[in-house]
């Protein structure tokens, strides 16, 4: 450690206080839903940046299309591909527009089944292309292709006190 005294000072600031009663929520996804989880900043010259909890990726191969929702730590969490027999079985072709649209419907269903509603998307499709229709179908089926900002606790000397996302009901 280069600055042991400062490291010790930071450790002291994060220690639980002795006069409070604590309860620990072990759900690793809880803080992301409350918007206070750590989100990497990345470097400002990175393009595309790395600042996300979940990110949508679409990888077309020669014959199939695969869409994934990636978590910044766990990697691919939800996957759907036209190479899956369950999907391919009902499609006429595995890489045409209707394949893209139907893949989006399956991916949206799988995301909603896991409570993933918001994710980052760095894809900029050409208007009216297959990808464009893919993204539009995702939005029509209830996904949001942007992530909220991370909530940071206001310091006592800050000007404003932003609303706490978990206290907003309806």
């Amino acid at each position: 450690m280069r600055f042991p005294r400062i490291a010790e000072k930071i450790r002291q600031l994060t220690l639980p206080s002795t006069d409070a009663k604590y309860m620990i929520n072990r759900n690793p996804r809880n803080l992301e839903l409350l918007r206070i989880a750590y989100k990497p900043d990345g470097y400002h010259l990175d393009k595309p940046g790395r600042s996300f909890w979940y990110k949508l990726e679409v990888n077309p191969s020669g014959r199939y299309v695969t869409a994934q929702v990636k978590h910044f730590e766990s990697g691919p969490v939800v996957t759907a591909s036209t190479s899956e027999w369950a999907i391919k079985k009902q499609l006429f072709k595995t890489k045409d527009t209707s394949a893209y649209v139907n893949l989006a419907r399956v991916l949206a269903q799988r995301c909603l089944e896991s409570g993933l509603i918001e994710m980052r998307c760095d894809i900029t499709p050409n208007p009216n292309s297959k990808l464009d229709k893919f993204l539009r179908t995702l939005e029509e089926n209830g996904l949001k292709l942007s992530e909220p900002e991370r909530f940071e606790a206001p310091r006592p000397w800050n000007r404003h006190r932003p609303e706490k996302p978990w206290e907003v009901t309806e």
Binding site: R26, Q90, S98, R105, P156
Partner: protein, 411 residues
């Protein structure tokens, strides 16, 4: 010696002639650490700094294996279907006119029998369920569970893999169905008598603060998948996530029993007996390891809602707890004797004891609050009232308080 005439400029002149070279130096740029490419990346450094013992974390599969049909048989079937599709004019028309809508329920049912099972293992790892319930063990959810909370006559909310369901929606026991007539390993239909155990558990909300779970539902010896005929060990209790704690996981696990088993030591007589409901899946599985095998899993996430307050008071008979996330306190540099270019009042407030600041503000509030009439009404035009006879820093502070800027918001 050099034959240079010494004039009145003397030394200067000689030195300039002696050192004609221009030294090129890039001041202000030095490479700190190793060069890029040689130095480790942030990923490599994090990996090296947090080593994991492969032996300790090696995952153990405690679930059922599955036999696959021979590839040749599968392929034959698939090629046949592909050929049929090629000749299907209607399907082609739909696909080319972009009106083809595949049956999502069918896709769901098909994929849950095949590759989606392994995708789900990753997803369940991502939700930390295997780690919190079984430690280093995992299993592939081979039996799809159909769990539905009835909301109204024609509306039901299914439990999938982490969807959000409010405690009010989950107030009544759900309808559970699963296919017990198919052999898990071979995938063939069987008529054998089978017994199952269904457990719903919450690992995120034990009031003791320890790493324990509350069991929400426990039905054992379910004969041939008929849940209603099972033995109720713990009656269903709805989720009761406390205020401020966020989203908790409620996990349904289906075990297949080798034989009829006796779980009376886990019996919960009273609905609200939380000490009896304290549970550990890890210990439970260790105890019955030889006789039960996990076969299915589904879970949802739930957070506090308005109706929970009444549930705490009436059913659990306790005061409703309320929690707040404990953010780390702000980091401050060590105080200096002479902090230059710092407004003295703000600087001192940062370094004062927080209790003293609170006391000051409370005093201020109490001074303007009438014991019977209550606090003074807020000013209609806060900037229109002149402040005279005070130093400028105090003027700013008074203005900030009137406009509700800064610390005043905390009191």
């Amino acid at each position: 010696m050099l034959s240079i005439p010494i004039n009145k400029f003397g030394r200067d002149f000689i030195l300039k002639n002696q050192i004609p070279a221009i030294i090129q130096a890039r001041l202000g740029h030095t490479l700190r650490g190793k060069a890029p490419g040689v130095a480790r990346s942030i990923e490599q450094r994090l990996r090296d700094d947090n080593p994991v013992d492969e032996e300790v974390v090696k995952p153990v599969n405690i679930g059922f294996p599955k036999l696959r049909a021979p590839r040749s048989v599968e392929l034959k079937e698939r090629i046949k279907l592909e050929k049929q599709k090629r000749q299907n004019v209607e399907l082609e028309k739909k696909a080319t006119s972009n009106t083809l809508q595949i049956d999502l329920d069918q896709v769901r049912a098909d994929s849950l029998k095949s590759n989606r099972q392994h995708q789900l293992v990753d997803l369940i790892h991502h939700f930390g369920i295997y780690k919190d319930l079984f430690g280093a063990a995992y299993f592939v959810p081979r039996v799809p569970l159909d769990i539905q909370f009835t909301i109204s006559e024609d509306k039901a909310l299914p439990v999938y893999f982490g969807n959000l369901i409010s405690p009010t929606e989950a107030s009544k026991p759900p309808k559970v169905q699963f296919d017990a007539s198919t052999d898990i390993i071979t995938g063939q239909k069987t008529n054998e008598q089978s017994f199952w155990t269904l457990i719903a558990t919450n690992p995120d909300g034990h009031f003791s603060g320890e790493e324990k779970e509350y069991i929400h539902w426990f039905i054992s010896n379910i004969p041939n998948g008929e849940v209603e005929k099972g033995e109720v060990i713990a009656p269903y209790i709805q989720p009761f996530p406390p205020k401020g704690l966020g989203y908790q996981r409620f996990i349904f696990i289906l075990y297949k029993q080798n034989k009829k088993l006796d779980f009376t030591s886990y019996k919960v007589e009273k609905l609200n007996d939380l000490t009896k409901r304290t549970f550990s899946t890890h210990d439970f599985y260790k105890k019955y390891e030889a006789d039960i095998t996990p076969a299915g899993l589904a879970f949802f996430q739930s957070t506090w809602d308005k109706n929970i307050t009444e549930f705490y008071h009436k059913v659990l008979g306790m005061k409703e707890p309320s929690y707040e996330y404990d953010f780390p306190k702000p980091f401050l540099r060590d105080p200096e004797w002479f902090p230059l270019r710092q407004p003295f009042n703000l600087y001192l407030d940062k370094h004062r004891d927080q209790k003293e600041v609170n006391k000051d503000y409370l005093k201020k509030v109490l001074a303007t609050t009438h014991p019977f009439k209550g606090p003074e009404p807020p000013l209609k035009f806060p900037n229109a009232h002149p402040i005279r006879g005070v130093p400028s820093w105090l003027k700013t502070e008074i203005k900030k308080d009137r406009l509700k800027i800064g610390r005043i918001n905390d009191y």
